[in-house]
């Protein structure tokens, strides 16, 4: 097993070169400057990463050292294609020493590098003709191998097998069966140390390091509360925890937090990232909203809170439709819930409803491809996307494997028999509700008819007025021409009407245009009747829908064939394949997927796949799951590349711990909360974050966890934490998302979009009644409209999902914290709360502000500095607030009031940021002292002590 063993005296950095200090810095810079495209990234071939450095005399083999290099650089033209360039196939060593092409050349002459044409071509850069050249190390490797006689590890097959996976491929760590390691007993482990601690301590011991002592109580409380709920602890919770001196105080705290409904919102959000949760279709800028996607979000939050076993959790998401009984109407709540889980497979961008016919093949194929990306990154920790077009260049994933995976899903998402998003909805309306609605509709229809009749009368009226404006002799011919059916009009009639466009174009659709020159009361009259009908229709039960992933009866009966696309081109299908997991994992698969049981609602492929994944034996799934949990607790996974367990990904820093956790998950009946308990109660988790020069010298990037990490709050936590501190957080759970809209700068804010069809602001403001203060997980996630406040702090873009969030530090974040309407209004609200709860004494105010924002009491020096700040700031603001009226209660006024025309005013700002207005005249504008207090609170909310989790 190619695990990581550190030898004494060797730093962790040497073993994980790509995470070195400089490496990370360069990565940070690249990120700042650039956005990665969703394409296969060309990296140095694995061969270059092989342990044998140039110059070493270690014996090389084709399979281990050379094939990876050729796969990376050459196979695309010399092996994979239908035609071999120059007649050369490099997939087997035997072909390299066989004459090829017209000239009958040999690619290499074993033992004679200088006579090997292939070596000359790559050395001189002639090959590969396009793309990355071989590195000098790779060229040297090739040269040494040839010089050594170009050996193979074992006799090669006669021909290239359809799926060629070598023993060397199978040796890779991630494909090894799970074994439960015994926790080691390092000397530095205290008696009774938990298995997790023993694994971590054992690694540390090799480097003569040990864990930090436990963090101070307040620090620990804040850390674990934010970690489990995404919200900071309230001052009362801090006081209670400080006062609780029982030995199990912390363990009970963990239990309380795991039982909080906010736990599901926080940990559900992590899963929603990997599932790519989105409230819109994406794909094009049309980005049609998905008003019913929230059923899936709510399912996830409920499942997390209920600690639904993860095996069941995954089975429901992949094949919930197979787990319920039909018919799918008048459904019971648990049926709805299980079906909602399949929303997992309905999250990816789907532009097929909006895409024109010519784009359908591409658009449909994109949906399937994105779905495979989500499934493979979320559950397999492998990016299989590259294999859509060709054998994976680095991992043992032949192109065929990609289509085997695809075949699992294709009966439910068949590009040849496409179902648009709207056709994948189940109505949640019961028959009884439907019958009642029909009665209401009949009533409304009567009003509709009345309106139509009146409209016809009005057309007659306008026509008579228009005719009256014409000379006497034209009236009759025009009247006749107008009333003649368009197709039956004579050329004379057509020509006559053309001269009189106001009559020619009179119709119900244009009636409103005439109305303004005649009498607006007619338009108003029609509207009044229409409103009457609308009013009646409001009595109907609104039909709700549930997006589901399932298979049609036709697809179950005759499953669509899944073909390998030549070079990934959906218009060029070749050989068909059967549904299966990756070939390299074939030994873990018990039976073929989808042995259709008679009368089953699906082919059963997804259910079988799900059960195979969650058998407890699958080497990837459990490792991937526990690693992701570890990642969220420590800011870094045991495998840092949480969605790439392949050759291009990182190697595990604690491989045995990873396997222990994976087997532990299965042993604890797949309970996520059990996994949390184990981790959160470990000394590794509870230790302080203090750095020491000794530790930094050995392990500067803290790969070995000799201290707790310091992390910035993610976007949602930051927004939610501010709302919590200001006391405005609306704890309402579930349901339709809080709407977002564009303000006039194109900034996305919370609010109901009231622009007209041309995108012009109408000035209308729809009150949100506290919805604006709900947690960020409930804010509409429209792909093209990420909430500006969240986006600034690295809210991920769901294209199609997010495997790993980034945390940038850029100037616009500072500007947002300093000047944004959200930051200013929240600071004002915190100040109001401080005043309410602490009274007029500056010292009491300062103390309360500290408690609320930072969960701690200020030191005497801090009180003194803050008091001086308040005093001076009050004096300054006394002058600045000469015109006190709206400035502080509505910082938003800054952006709206100075723009003259209503068209550019920011009518909606109020909805996002300004606290709900008190009754007129109820509240005096804030005093300079209160305004000063607000800036103090803002400084606390913007401080590193608030933004970072220690």
């Amino acid at each position: 097993m190619a695990s990581l063993h550190l030898h004494p005296g060797q730093t962790a950095r040497e073993h994980l070169p790509s995470t070195s200090r400089f490496g990370r810095f360069a990565f940070f810079l690249t990120c700042l400057l650039s956005v990665s495209g969703g394409f296969c990234v060309s990296e140095p071939s694995p061969a270059a990463k092989a342990p044998e450095g140039p110059g070493s005399a270690a014996p090389l083999t084709f399979e281990r050292n050379i094939r990876p290099l050729l796969k990376h650089h050459c196979v695309h033209c010399h092996g994979e294609g239908e035609k071999l360039k120059a007649g050369l196939d490099v997939r087997l060593r035997r072909f390299l020493v066989t004459p090829h092409g017209d000239g009958g050349d040999l690619a290499i002459v074993p033992g004679k590098p200088e006579e090997s044409e292939m070596l000359r071509l790559v050395r001189e850069g002639e090959m590969p003709p396009k793309g990355k050249k071989l590195t000098p190390e790779e060229v040297q490797l090739l040269e040494r191998w040839i010089a050594q006689g170009a050996p193979t590890a074992r006799p090669e097959p006669e021909t290239v097998p359809k799926v060629y996976i070598t023993e060397e491929d199978r040796e890779f760590w991630a494909f090894q069966p799970l074994k439960r390691p015994t926790p080691p007993s390092p000397k530095n482990a205290p008696p009774g140390a938990s298995p997790i601690d023993r694994f971590v301590l054992a690694t540390l011991e090799q480097k003569n390091l040990t864990l930090n002592p436990e963090a101070p109580k307040a620090t620990l409380l804040r850390r674990v509360t934010l970690d489990l709920t995404g919200l900071p602890p309230a001052p009362e919770e801090v006081a209670a925890f400080e006062a609780d001196t029982a030995p199990d105080a912390y363990a009970r705290l963990v239990e309380r937090l795991l039982a909080s409904p906010h736990y599901g919102e926080r940990w559900g959000r992590h899963w929603l990232d990997i599932a790519g949760y989105s409230d819109s279709d994406g794909y094009s800028e049309t980005d049609t909203p998905r008003p019913w996607a929230y059923h899936y979000r709510d399912y996830i939050i409920r499942a997390m809170n209920a600690d639904k076993p993860l095996d069941r959790f995954i089975q429901e998401q992949l094949a919930g439709d197979e787990l319920v009984k039909g018919p799918l109407k008048n459904m019971a709540p648990d049926t709805i819930e299980t079906l909602a889980a399949t929303g997992f497979l309905r999250m990816v961008p789907d532009g097929t409803a909006a895409a024109p016919a010519a784009e359908q093949v591409t658009a449909r194929n994109a949906v399937v491809a994105e779905e495979l990306k989500v499934v493979s990154t979320a559950l397999l920790g492998m990016s299989v996307g590259c294999a859509q077009c060709h054998d994976h260049k680095h991992d043992p994933i032949p192109q065929r494997d990609y289509y085997q995976l695809r075949a699992i899903f294709e009966p439910g998402i068949d590009p040849a028999n496409w179902r648009l998003p709207a056709a994948r909805m189940l109505s949640l309306m019961t028959d009884e509700e439907r019958a009642k609605n029909a009665v209401v509709e009949t009533e409304a229809k009567v009003i509709d008819d009345r309106r139509k009749k009146r409209e016809d009368e009005l057309i007659e009226l306008v026509l008579s007025w228009e005719l009256a404006k014409r000379p006497e002799e034209l009236r009759e011919p025009l009247n006749t021409a107008y009333r003649t059916e368009v197709k039956k009009r004579t050329p004379e009639q057509l020509s006559l009407l053309k001269e009189h466009p106001t009559i020619n174009q009179l119709n119900p659709g244009s009636l409103y245009l005439y109305d303004r020159t005649y009498n607006t009361k007619h338009e108003a009259e029609l509207k009044k009747i229409a409103d009457e009908a609308t009013e009646i229709r409001t009595r109907k039960t609104v039909e709700k829908f549930l997006p589901v992933f399932n298979e049609t009866a036709a697809a179950v009966k005759t499953p669509p064939p899944t073909a390998i696309f030549h070079r990934g081109d959906p218009k060029n299908p070749k050989e068909t394949v059967e549904a299966a997991d990756l070939t390299i994992l074939a030994s873990f698969q018990i039976a073929p997927f989808g042995q259709n049981k008679e009368g089953a609602p699906s082919t059963g492929r997804r259910g079988d796949f799900a059960r195979h994944l969650t058998s407890g034996k699958h080497p990837l799934l459990t490792r991937v799951l526990v690693n992701r949990v570890w990642h969220h607790h420590f800011g870094r996974g045991i495998v840092a590349s949480v969605a790439d367990f392949g050759h291009q990904g990182e190697r595990p820093s604690h491989p045995e711990l990873l396997d222990w956790l994976a087997t532990e998950l299965v042993a604890k009946k797949w309970s996520l909360k059990e996994l949390h308990r184990g981790i959160l109660n470990s000394a590794v988790y509870k230790q302080s974050s203090t750095r020491t020069p000794e530790k930094d010298a050995v392990d500067p990037d803290n790969l070995l966890l000799a201290r707790a990490p310091i992390r910035r709050m993610d976007a949602e936590t930051l927004r939610d934490a501010m709302l919590q501190v200001s006391g405005k957080l609306n704890p309402k759970m579930f349901g339709s998302p809080v709407p977002v809209m564009l303000d006039t700068d194109g900034q996305v804010i919370v609010g109901v979009d009231t622009t007209d069809t041309a995108g012009r602001p109408t000035g209308k403001v729809v009150p949100l009644n506290g919805e604006e203060f709900r947690r960020s997980v409930y804010v509409q996630m429209r792909r093209t409209r990420p909430l500006a406040m969240l986006e600034t702090f690295d809210l991920p873009k769901m294209e199609p999902n997010c495997e790993l969030r980034t945390a940038s530090t850029v100037a616009p974040q500072s500007l947002t914290l300093m000047n944004s309407e959200f930051a200013l209004s929240q600071a004002s609200l915190v100040a109001e709360r401080v005043l309410r709860e602490s009274g007029a004494q500056p010292e009491a105010q300062i103390r309360r502000a500290w408690q609320l924002a930072l969960g701690s009491d200020p030191s005497p020096e801090e009180i003194q500095k803050a008091a001086q700040f308040l005093k001076q700031q009050t004096t300054t603001l006394q002058a600045a607030l000469v015109s006190p009226a709206p400035i502080l209660t509505a910082p938003a006024a800054a952006s709206g009031a100075t723009t003259a025309a209503p068209a550019v005013a920011k009518p909606t700002v109020a909805a996002t940021t300004v606290p709900p207005k008190p009754a007129a005249g109820a509240k005096a504008p804030p005093s300079p002292a209160q305004a000063a207090l607000a800036t103090l609170c803002q400084a606390l909310l913007n401080s590193n002590a608030f933004l970072y989790i220690d």
Binding site: V35, E499, I710, T806
Partner: protein
Amino acid sequence: MQTNGCLSRRHFLSKSGFCLSSLGALALLQKDGLLAKPIDLIPQHFDTLPKPPAARPKARAMISLFMQGGPSQIDLFDPKPELDKRNGQKFSGDIKFDDSANASTTLMASPWKFKQHGQSGTAVSELLPYFAQIVDDVTLIRGMQTGVSNHGQGIYAMQTGGVLAGRPTLGSWLTYALGSETSDLPAYVALTDPRGLPVLGVSNWTQGWLPSIYQGTAVRSQEPRMANLDPAPHLRGEAQARYLDFLGGLNADHLQKHPGESDLEARIASYALAGKLQIAAKEALDISGETQATKKLYGIDDPATAEFGTRCLIARRLVERGVRFVQLFTGNQTWDHHKGILAGLPAACKYVDKGSAALVIDLKARGLLDSTVVHWGGEMGRLPVVEYPGSKDVAGRDHNTYGFSMWMAGGGFKAGTTYGETDEFGHKAVKDIVSHHDYHATLLHLFGLDHEKVLFRRNGTPMSLTDNKGGRVVSELLV
């Protein structure tokens, strides 16, 4: 490490460049060979670093004065003696009306007089006296045509090359292909009119499906100019300085307890960088240091022309500082003279004429005109027949997308030229027609770019500004 982290949509907005230059990162990147190369068909990374175009460019920057609503070419740029002659007569040709209820087929001559100006003898309406002074520096295009009928589609055609929503705008394409010469300012700036946003609002500077770093940054003509740039009014100056100072103290204490945490140090530094950004933006937008003569040239001394003149001057300042693309908008439907054209058109002209001409004069005087394209025009023109017939005061003209005029200057456009013709009534373009695709192909050409090669792969298809619909580089327009 492979960059498999999820990137947010906007945090790389050219703003990120601000931070970098001050970190000296640019030099570092150059050393590492990471500096951007000319874009290829499938770039894997996107940035706003300056990129060399494929061919030697004439133009390096562009300022577009977008006259949203559709200025009447018949009354401004394209005199029609035949129309004058047949004033009041019935028009027998095919007309596509937008507002049928008030339509008529009665021809309406231009109420304004035309005169020839400059050495080129370009005919200009009396409504544009300042434009008349720069005609020798201008290329007048009289045969524009998009063939779509309403404002939305017309704007999409002119701004994005297609008629449907969702495509990137011209400025986005230019910054995508060429990056920006400045790291302290946004690469692409939209200067909006305080009287209202144009039709389609923020879609006028959208990056569509290009990465969001290519989105235009909206800058208002009055405070607050940019989102989150300024403190709230009562916090400006001393109050914010004290707050930042206090925050600095908090962070310093915190850092002392967490020595060696570079993330915390970076966060502290980001406040200083925000200050730099504020200063660079403020400096570029502050015209107080301009001479009285310059301000007078732009009409900033006259309330009737000051607002637009100021924005034209700011546009010059932005381009001077390396901004790639600046677009000015006139207020919502300023030029949409369905009705009351007799009063409306002179007012609209008065608002923009002086500033527009001053921009060309000033750029020329500073030696910037050769490398800066200036564009003046809207999404359509107007019909030769009268809308709201009857009273002279209510009379107007309906939409016309089959023939309209606009002018270009600088950046390689041939000075003192008029190109293209409409029919004898000024209705449809009939000779040397320039479509929106031709216009875009020509612009990219001046920037050293081939419109068929500046591509972005989307859902497997290479997309272009000209919508893969062809488009001719109109060499007759060029030097």
